[in-house]
């Protein structure tokens, strides 16, 4: 067997095994609770009858192994059981919301991946330029922001905004800051120093100007809000309606994920460009473009794929908070609601789906990294 196929199959088997172990953890987590789950959830005041009924309903009266396999059997057929709180079929609850969540994550990924990889590579290639340092400071800041902070700032600027007049005042101020800030950065670069305050002012200015432009645009199209701060999507909404309504949550996710992805892309490209074979290509007199396309890129594929997969997996976590902020009807919102209601069966179902997606993404990255490694492609 070709070693690549062999390794890929090994990874696949490992992935399936991990999924199996994870399903045991998700189903079995209930067992680790010291004391009785039914009593715990229903409270000390619950009658013994109510507790017994609850136990029968969740299946706590059956032995754990049997319970696990009947649950797993159901899941395999798309049946996650019924919700404790609403008595509705979990599969029904999930299916509509899963689509929404995937739409949101996909929307964010479509913007974020090309943007982040391109900017990350540019930052690596123009290392230590003002562009690189600006990117470093701004990405370092935005990975430090909680998702809800980014979300509310966006709402403030792109959704509710200030009054119309205030916006123009701010825009003039923004333009001033933009010019002055980046001017300071450029000046600093000439003497080999980087002006952080210049860049911060510049960014702030840029944001204010963008805000004003959006305000003007939303005024032109006659909308009171540029974008809705509450993304209530009905199942029969049209595609463009969906894009419009999920614009702010997607932008929030994009901003958070892009920063991460850019930093990692930059780091792996810099690492690559330091290889002796890149220096050798330079010493052979190859033009910079060719060095990147012929010498760096074939070796950069594996690390970049890895970066993308890690960040798509990261989107999953981000999606939970963002959905809550924008009241977006997705899986994350359902999960958080169910956690506060301690609706254990729904939580289990949602967790399994999130975990499976996460494992699948990591698995894809692994296999693609193997498939693009020249040392494995051409074994001895």
């Amino acid at each position: 067997m070709h070693p690549i196929l062999k390794m890929a199959l090994q990874r696949l088997a490992l992935g399936v095994f991990t999924l199996f172990v994870v399903s045991i953890i998700i189903a079995g987590a209930v067992e680790f609770l010291p004391g009785d789950l039914a009593q715990e959830i229903l409270g000390q005041a619950a009658t013994p009858e109510a507790v017994a009924a609850f136990r029968a309903e969740v299946g706590l009266d059956k032995p754990p192994v049997e319970r696990y396999f009947s649950w797993l059997g159901g899941v395999a057929q798309g049946d996650f059981g019924t919700s404790l709180a609403t008595k509705r079929s979990i599969s029904e609850l999930i299916s509509a919301r899963l689509g929404n969540t995937l739409f949101l994550a996909g929307f964010a990924a479509v913007i974020a991946v090309p943007l982040a990889v391109t900017l990350g590579m540019l930052a690596a290639l123009y290392r230590n330029s003002w562009f690189d340092r600006l990117i470093n400071v701004s990405t370092l800041s935005s990975i430090s922001f909680p998702e809800f902070f980014v979300a509310y700032v966006l709402i403030l600027f792109l959704s509710v905004g200030y009054g119309f007049d205030a916006r123009w005042v701010l825009a003039v101020l923004g333009l001033f800051l933009l010019v002055e800030g980046f001017g300071a950065v450029r000046e600093g670069m000439k003497i080999g120093r980087f002006s952080m305050f210049g860049s911060v002012f510049g960014l702030l200015g840029l944001a204010l100007v963008v805000n004003a432009v959006f305000g003007w645009w939303s005024y032109q199209v006659g909308a009171v809000q540029a974008f809705p701060s509450i993304s209530n999507i009905s199942p029969d909404a049209s595609f463009s309606e969906r894009i419009y309504r999920s614009f702010l949550p997607a932008l929030t996710l994009t901003l958070v994920v892009t920063a991460h992805m850019m930093r990692m892309t930059r780091a792996s490209i810099i690492n690559l460009m330091a290889s002796p074979y890149i220096e050798m290509a330079r010493l052979k007199g190859m033009p910079p473009g060719r060095i990147i396309v012929k010498h760096a890129l074939p070796n950069a594929l594996a690390p970049i794929i890895n970066v993308i997969a890690i960040n798509l997996a990261y989107l999953i976590t981000g999606v939970v908070v963002v959905e809550v902020v924008f009241v977006y009807p997705g899986l994350g919102q359902l999960l958080v609601d169910s956690v506060s209601k301690r609706d254990i069966t729904v939580v289990q179902g949602c967790c399994l789906i999130f975990a499976a997606t996460y494992i699948l993404l990591n698995l894809t990255a692994d296999i693609l990294a193997i498939a693009t490694n020249p040392r494995l492609l051409h074994p001895k």
């Binding site: 290889s275 050798m280 290509a281 330079r282 033009p287 051409h378």
Partner: protein, 552 residues
């Protein structure tokens, strides 16, 4: 200067960035090279050899800058020229051969594509021409299967072959000048010969001018017409090879040349019935399921030095790991003063551990960077001999005196504040602190510059005489063996192929592998390589294939 000068470097200054300050690497270098001439650039680490090699191409590494001077190549100053101009020269007119071929070939492309890249991109040849030319050059450089080898990927080819493939690649555009930056340093001696011969032939055939950078005098003697000696970014001396070898003028150069003169004191043979301090009896060892040692036997007597010689992968370090108990043998036993030692170090008692000490190759990793010298040496003093407080400090001072380092100056320093040679001395002091009978020296001088290495060898010799120590000296360097050994054990592929007193070992007849090893060590005589290759051709001396040591 006449018209045939191809490269003229004048007052070249290059700075490197350390932290926030620029420190000079090259302090105003002059260098001239005629068409077709080979200039040997020699110096110890930190001399700026690689920097000058790259500067000859108008290239500086990241974190370096040219702060003055000119690099005049065929009438154009490369320092002042545009990057486009320099790029057009590189690969076409000036080519580069790096130290590590394995790292300098792109893992994603076949050798032949990397060969053809420069000629095609510089418009010298088309693809078909380049590929047939590659095969032709591979043949000239004596690569096995020249028609086929180019279609392999770098990781599918051995180190010695890669180095030759890289030389071929550098010649692909028939450049006027090639920079060789330590091209054989990473290779074993027996492989080095083949690469040296291939490089020299190719340079001669095409009449290419070359700058050959190395720290190895004997190697440069074979390759260069002229030698320029560097030290800390400055030229010390410059002369024709033969003149430079026979009559160096500067003290520094003389001192470099003098290194090879050291010979340890000869010791009388031990009586036949003396119980050896260490004896390996039929030792087999394995890493996991891979056997690495096969039936190894040798003895080490009190006050004597046994040199264990072999190339990488010969099992010489594994034998040492067996003695220390880091790798328990799978078969056989290790006797200490006639008594069998427990196989693993964990089962040995404090006294058994104390008696056998070790000095490491890389002094940098052998000393804990976060401990002061007094703690590094003081710990074994306290641990084994139970001394503490003032008594311990006194003992540390004695030990520092013993290794010729001023206690008051060095006691409170950290290893990072010492030079390489000083660190190695501290390593010696730490092993002496245990008051052992036996010390394993694992390539203790191979990471050091020659002069420093010489000092270490002298020290070890003196300590041996004063304290009656037995040494097991692991090395791949036969010059070191000549200098210090009383007895020699030659290892290959995990087996002892030959052993005996040094005087006998350096006289024929030999085991074919010993022969190969001995004949492959470069000598200072500039005619050595030519003579050797001639002798091998005529079958007077074994070559690599006959000894089963081929890199192919």
């Amino acid at each position: 200067m006449s018209d045939d000068t191809i490269l003229k470097i004048r007052n070249l200054k290059i700075d490197g960035k350390t932290g926030d300050e620029w420190l000079p690497i090259l302090k105003g270098i002059d260098l001239d090279l005629k068409r077709g001439e080979v200039l040997g650039v020699i110096g110890e680490s930190g001399a700026g050899k690689s920097t000058i090699g790259l500067a000859a191409m108008g290239y500086t590494r990241g974190g370096c800058r040219i702060s003055g001077g000119t690099v005049d190549f065929e009438g154009t100053d490369l320092v002042a020229a545009s990057e486009t101009y320099r790029r057009k020269l590189r690969g076409k007119k000036i080519a580069y051969v790096a130290q590590s071929a394995a790292a300098s070939f792109n893992p994603a492309h076949r050798l032949i594509d990397q060969y053809s890249e420069a000629p095609i991109q510089h418009g010298v040849m088309n693809t078909t021409e380049a590929e047939s030319d590659a095969t032709e050059l591979y043949r000239r450089l004596q690569l096995p299967n020249p028609d086929e080898i180019g279609f392999r990927y770098p990781h599918q080819v051995s180190g010695g072959q890669l180095q030759r493939a890289m030389t071929a690649m550098a010649m692909s555009c028939r450049p006027d000048l090639i920079i060789f930056d330590e091209p054989t340093t990473a290779l074993d001696v027996t492989t080095q010969i083949e690469v040296l011969a291939a490089i020299r032939d190719a340079v001669e055939q095409f009449g290419t001018a070359a700058i050959y950078i190395t720290h190895d005098l004997a190697v440069v003697a074979q390759m260069a017409d002229r030698i320029q000696v560097f030290k800390l970014g400055e030229t010390i001396e410059e002369a024709e090879t033969r003149k430079m070898l026979s009559a160096p003028e500067e003290d520094y150069t003389k001192s470099l040349w003098a290194v090879r003169s050291f010979k340890a004191t000869a010791k009388p043979k031990p009586p036949a019935d003396e119980v050896p301090i260490v004896e390996l009896r039929n030792v087999d060892a394995a890493y996991g399921a891979t056997p690495v040692l096969f039936d190894v036997n040798f003895k080490i007597h009190k006050g004597r030095t046994v040199a264990v010689v072999g190339e990488s992968g010969s099992g010489k370090s594994t034998a040492a790991r067996c003695i220390t108990g880091l790798l328990p043998p799978t078969k056989g036993e290790i006797l200490f003063n006639g008594e069998a030692l427990p196989p693993g170090y964990r089962q040995r008692n404090k006294d058994q551990l104390r008696q056998a000490q070790m000095i490491y190759q890389m002094a940098d990793t052998a000393l804990n960077p976060k401990q002061r010298i007094e703690d590094i040496i003081g710990r074994p003093v306290g641990f084994y001999l139970g001394l503490s407080g003032k008594a311990q400090r006194e003992r540390v001072r004695e030990l520092l005196d013993l290794i010729e380092m001023e206690p008051d100056v060095y006691m409170h320093r950290f290893p990072g504040e010492l030079s390489g040679g000083q660190k190695q001395r501290i390593g010696i002091a730490r092993s002496l602190a245990a008051e052992p009978q036996f010390i394993i020296c694992d390539e203790v001088t191979s990471a050091l510059d020659q002069l420093v290495a010489e000092g270490i060898l002298r020290l070890l010799d003196k300590l041996q005489i004063d304290l009656g120590l037995a040494y097991m000296f692991i090395t791949h360097d036969l010059a070191t063996v000549r200098a210090i050994a009383d007895e020699v054990v030659v290892m290959q592929h995990g087996k002892v192929v030959e052993q005996g007193p040094k005087v006998e070992m350096f006289k024929p007849p030999h085991h074919p592998y010993t022969d190969l090893l001995l004949s492959s060590v470069p000598e200072m005589d500039p005619g050595w390589l030519t003579n050797l290759l001639g002798a091998r051709e005529r079958g007077e001396i074994v070559d690599a294939k006959a000894a089963g040591a081929s890199d192919n």
